[in-house]
């Protein structure tokens, strides 16, 4: 057995951490957080840098302008992006849009979009939600008539800056996954708990669009894209949880109360140990998801759900207890704890909330253990 990343993958991770510490210092995250209305909702310099480093195309085959490495490399990068709370549309473009194109795009569609994604020219987004609560196939109201798209999607992560969208729409009696350019489409930015990523309401009105895959396959394709994204998001969540744990441990060693390091109080020790346990459970589940994703294993659906459920719990716990460990300081805008608390919530709902994933997990478990 060898259940670990390779040396090359580990050195990619070290490189990523250095680059992100350098380019995406918390200062850059805060510049996006505190941006004036109308200013771009992402760090353009960092976006350029990750494009030049080849990260955007790391899992895109060379024939489409990518680097042609695998998903394991992408997982390694995702963990570091999560740790850095990176203020770029990486998840939308790479975990969602790219995966959808690779999974269901025609050769022409891949030729058209993947090279632009790899070079950083094209930002993508994934438009599924239309209102509060878990989406259902029969509740989708956005329609596709074979050539044009109509209806509203809200919220769409990075929909405010994206050049194209992958959209789940109703087509006839079923659903289809379609791709639309966003030039000229009405979009309004939506205020969210995590302003370090932009969100929009997108209103399609007879917008020209093309189907990805076959008509009627939309829901299943979207589900498959979500499984892939879930594994990659789990790595971001693990990275974020780890960053919170590191912050909290560091603070607990240096902060004194009652003339002792607060880390010498068992209440704090056990809290940090609980955060560590949850992060390790999440990490191991994420690694298994990475294996399933990179090998296209039939275990992927169950592994993806497990990775997602564990990672969401670990990041939630770590982000809230990191604040608690910091006491009053943790509740201020100036201290970075809240950046993680915000991002943890975004990542918890971005590919569907934990309730949805727990249901998927158990359904897949039932299937595997059918009577």
């Amino acid at each position: 057995m060898n259940f670990d990343f390779s040396d090359d993958q580990k050195s990619l991770k070290d490189q990523a951490r250095k680059v992100l510490a350098d380019k995406s210092s918390i200062k850059a995250v805060r510049a996006v957080l505190d941006r004036k209305p109308g200013a771009p909702s992402y760090d353009q310099d960092l976006w350029k840098a990750v494009a030049e480093l080849g990260w955007l195309g790391i899992a895109i085959p060379e024939e489409y302008g990518g680097v042609g490495l695998g998903r394991l490399e992408l997982c390694v990068l995702a963990e570091e992006l999560g740790r850095a709370v990176a203020p770029i549309p990486f998840a939308s473009t790479v975990y969602f849009a790219t995966e959808a194109l690779l999974l269901a795009g025609s050769d022409a569609q891949k030729q058209k979009w993947l090279p632009k994604i790899a070079s950083g020219e094209a930002i993508g987004c994934f438009a599924l939600s239309e209102g509060p609560g878990a989406p259902k196939p029969d509740a989708i109201t956005t329609t596709f008539d074979g050539s044009a798209l109509s209806g509203a999607k809200i919220p769409v992560a990075d929909g405010d800056i994206a050049h194209f969208a992958i959209v789940l729409a109703k087509e006839g009696a079923g659903t289809s996954l379609v791709i639309a350019e966003l030039d000229g489409v009405k979009r309004s930015e939506v205020k969210t708990l995590d302003p370090t990523r932009g969100h929009a309401k997108i209103e399609f009105a007879k917008t020209k669009a093309e189907r990805l895959g076959k008509a009627g396959e939309g829901w299943d394709l979207a589900d498959a894209v979500l499984d892939r994204a879930a594994v990659l998001l789990a790595f971001e969540q693990v990275g974020g949880a780890q960053a919170c744990l590191d912050m909290a441990v560091d603070y607990a060693k240096n902060r004194y109360a009652f003339s002792r390091q607060i880390g010498s109080f068992q209440a704090i020790k056990h809290k940090l140990a609980d955060m560590y346990v949850a992060a390790e459970v999440a990490r191991s589940n994420a690694y298994y998801g990475a294996w399933a994703l990179s090998t296209e294993a039939p275990e992927l659906p169950l592994a993806a759900a497990a990775a997602r459920v564990a990672a969401t719990e670990a990041y939630h716990l770590a982000s809230k207890e990191n604040i608690q460990t910091h006491g009053g300081m943790g509740f201020t805008w100036e201290v970075d704890c809240h950046l993680f608390y915000r991002r943890a919530k975004l990542l918890a709902v971005q590919a569907g909330g934990p309730g949805v994933w727990k249901e998927k997990l158990v359904r897949r478990l039932e299937l595997k253990n059918a009577a």
């Binding site: 599924l128 939600s129 209102g131 509060p132 609560g133 878990a134 989406p135 259902k136 509740a139 809200i154 919220p155 939506v190 205020k191 969210t192 708990l193 995590d194 969100h199 240096n254 902060r255 004194y256 109360a257 009652f258 003339s259 002792r260 390091q261 109080f265 209440a267 704090i268 939630h316 809230k320 604040i323 608690q324 006491g327 009053g328 943790g330 509740f331 201020t332 805008w333 100036e334 201290v335 704890c337 809240h338 608390y341 919530k345 975004l346 918890a348 709902v349 971005q350 569907g352 909330g353 934990p354 309730g355 949805v356 727990k358 249901e359």
Partner: protein, 409 residues
């Protein structure tokens, strides 16, 4: 046991309701005051407090000589129950009337009580609590701000932090170190002062939920007369305990969504299982049941405390339970609601998010509640040590002069 109002209580309740209907708007979804209108809000709050005092609903349990009504604590509960059904702007007075003025009543001179208690009760003057410091929060007795005697005056230098409402307060009660050469608890003294005293500088702190309800307060050669001392020199900790005991009573119900809002959201939102609504979802129903028993346990526990109070007993440290339960439940409920809203849950815009984004706003406020007025960890230590009688944690600060304590710096 009898939950019905006595005739006297029923009459008081009717009187309270009549007053509230005449002077407050019914509850709207909007919980947090938009920052731009803080001065408008304060004006509204002061006007309301004045009417409340005139109608005899301020200081319900206080003695008549202090402008109160001299009623049993249950009447306070009754008024609170009725007031919570309205949009009553009483927030800015909670610390002053809940903690500072009771401390003044216990320790100030008769003349000072005449001067300060009335205006506070009528909402003319607002008070804040100047205890916590950058290196002394949980361990507030470890504070540094120095007061040095100079003739009939004291000269104060140092810094306070997290002072709620300091930016709009007129007065504050201030805990300082007067003797660093003795054990930390023995070298403290309490004062009160005008926030307009020269050398006092208030700087707002931007909190993670967006607003600025609390502040840093700097003291540079601030001179106050010895007459503004509360209690004896070196007895500041005993005085502070009176304030902190009152804090346990003052920190009552928590803000945030109420049951009507939670049920409404659950009725409207599709379930994560894809079948029916959230309200029909078994996992959500189980969570709802747990939140209910926790909230009821707190509420009914307060009734037991009130009954004990009405029989002349003093409330013990067991009232620490309330804040741990309420703050954590608020964080849990709001988190569950956001997650159930799914992708849409991240939206915090009041005009788009369900229930005017009360869940999102409270999610950002809940971490502060777990820290303010004693952290979860400190309150659990209090329960373990003071209620259950477990031995204290190892103390390295006992029997050591303040100036010799390790601080990590």
């Amino acid at each position: 046991m009898d939950f019905n109002d006595t005739p006297e209580e029923a009459a008081f309740r009717a009187e309270a309701r009549k007053f509230l209907e005449a002077n407050c708007a019914p509850k709207s979804g909007q919980r947090q005051q938009p920052e731009s209108s803080e001065s408008d809000y304060l004006k509204k709050a002061k006007a309301y407090q004045k009417k409340k005092a005139e109608a005899g609903f301020a200081g319900i349990t206080w003695r008549k000589e202090h402008g109160g009504r001299g009623l049993a604590p249950i009447f306070n509960v009754i008024f609170g129950q009725e007031e919570s059904k309205f949009d009553a702007p009483s927030g800015p007075f909670a610390i002053g009337l809940g903690m500072c003025i009771p401390t003044m009543i216990a320790f100030a001179s008769e003349e000072q009580k005449k001067r300060y208690v009335g205006p506070a009760l009528k909402g003319e003057e607002i008070w804040c609590q100047l205890f916590s410091e950058p290196s002394a929060g949980s361990d507030v007795a470890g504070l540094k701000t120095r007061a040095v005697r100079d003739g009939d005056d004291w000269v104060i230098n140092g810094q306070k932090v997290w002072t709620s409402g300091a930016h709009y307060s007129d007065y504050g009660i201030l805990l300082v170190r007067t003797n660093p050469d003795v054990e930390k608890h023995k070298g403290l003294t309490m004062f009160f002062l005008s926030m307009k005293t020269p050398g006092v500088e208030v700087r707002p702190i931007h909190q993670m939920s967006g607003g600025s309800n609390f502040n840093e307060v700097y003291f540079t050669d601030v001179r106050i007369p010895d007459a503004q001392r509360l209690g004896e020199v070196g007895q500041g900790w005993q005085v502070a305990l009176v304030t902190l005991m009152n804090e346990r009573l003052a920190v009552g119900g928590s803000p945030g969504p109420d049951y009507a809002e939670i049920m409404e959201l659950a009725r409207r939102t599709p379930s994560p299982t894809g079948k029916g609504t959230l309200l029909q979802d078994q996992a959500f129903r189980a969570a709802l049941a747990e939140w209910f028993v926790s909230a009821e346990g707190y509420k009914l526990g307060r009734f037991r405390t009130m009954t004990a109070l009405s029989k002349g007993q003093t409330p013990g440290p067991e009232s620490s339970i309330g804040k741990i339960l309420n703050a954590n439940r608020l964080q849990d409920i709001t988190n569950a609601a956001i997650e159930a809203e799914d992708h849409f849950g991240i939206i915090s815009d009041e005009s788009l998010a369900p229930m005017e984004a009360v869940f999102q706003q409270s999610y950002m406020w809940a971490p502060g509640l777990r820290i303010a007025g004693g952290t979860d960890e400190i309150l659990k230590n209090i329960i373990a040590e003071r209620v259950l009688g477990l031995p204290q944690d190892v103390r390295v600060d006992k029997g050591v002069a303040y100036k010799d304590l390790p601080t990590g710096r």
